[in-house]
Point group: C2
Chain length 187, copies 2
């Protein structure tokens, strides 16, 4: 539970009182490698904070797993569209390492948002941040070639290259594993 506390203290100015109120809303849950947090077709009912581990987002397109995002320690996992609009998710989320997450359901989140104003700010900031990230990814996919996208990922998220299998990285970059292999062998 410690990493979550320091996350809250470092990134937002929660008081000890607020943090206490916050913490009791979460449930610590373990996920085995390959266990799903959310499957396509399900309604996403939770948000979770990653204490330890790594989660992958993917869609099935033309029968293939297409990775659209990933998240490590100190990041959140949820599926906004499904959670907030109460529609089935098109996205799957699962652990690719044994992981531990702090889970809270939507009703509790709504209550917290009312009782602690800063939660609203946190939510707005996160939503905006994810939008910005997504925009950046789209821009790279549209305007850079695979090799450049790989170099940027290597530079900006080196841990991803070490913890996520290369065929998933390739998928995230929008190319085939063989192409990523070819790019890597040039250097």
């Amino acid at each position: 539970m410690n990493s979550f506390k320091s996350y809250l203290q470092n990134n937002f100015t929660f008081t000890a009182e607020e943090i206490k109120e916050l913490l009791i809303c979460f449930t610590l849950k373990g996920y085995k490698k390959k266990e799903h947090f959310l499957k396509a077709g399900q309604y996403c009912k939770n948000v979770a904070f990653i204490e330890k581990g790594c989660f992958l987002y993917y869609e099935i397109i033309d029968g293939e797993e297409k990775v659209c995002d990933f998240a490590f320690e100190n990041d959140w996992i949820t599926q906004y569209n499904s959670l907030l609009n109460n529609v089935p998710s098109t996205v799957n989320i699962y652990a690719i390492e044994d992981s531990k997450i702090l889970v809270m359901d939507l009703p509790k989140l709504e209550k917290l948002t009312v009782s602690i104003a800063k939660i609203g700010i946190l939510r707005a900031k996160l939503a905006e941040q994810y939008f910005t990230e997504s925009t950046k990814r789209a821009s790279q996919l549209a305007n850079l070639k695979a090799e450049e996208r790989y170099e940027i990922l290597l530079k900006e998220k080196p841990e991803a290259l070490q913890r996520i299998p290369q065929y998933h990285i390739a998928s995230y970059l929008g190319i085939k594993p063989q192409s990523l292999s070819r790019i890597r062998s040039k250097n």
Copy 2:
């Protein structure tokens, strides 16, 4: 001002009172073709609702205009990241037709958000909607070939193909004008 009123009434359940309070916060402004709403390097201070016309979002990458979004009547224009985090925009936004927009500055928006609770809901919905749109675009760029992306655009936003020059459409699709021409000539 009529299209904005019906937008508010149709999409959100504002009262006549609220709409009145809302409307006085906006200023109607005309934009000539090619006139910029926001230039890269500037701080975005406004949000605006498009009454009439069409706006294009683009970035300069490798010296070229790369289109990252566009918006028509009944849509909003702003640059979230710059507006909310008070940082210079990397994105340009300009009218590609003579246009009319309703402009409101950030301080007024913040005040309205406090005085009319539904504005907060509208903002959250819009942010989430833009995130979902961006995710969808990224997914298409990563997983579909140019021809499929074009077909989808043609089907989902046919008006774009008619009002936006093809070399801008090509850029939005992440390809060169010649490639779009080649794709189009196949059918």
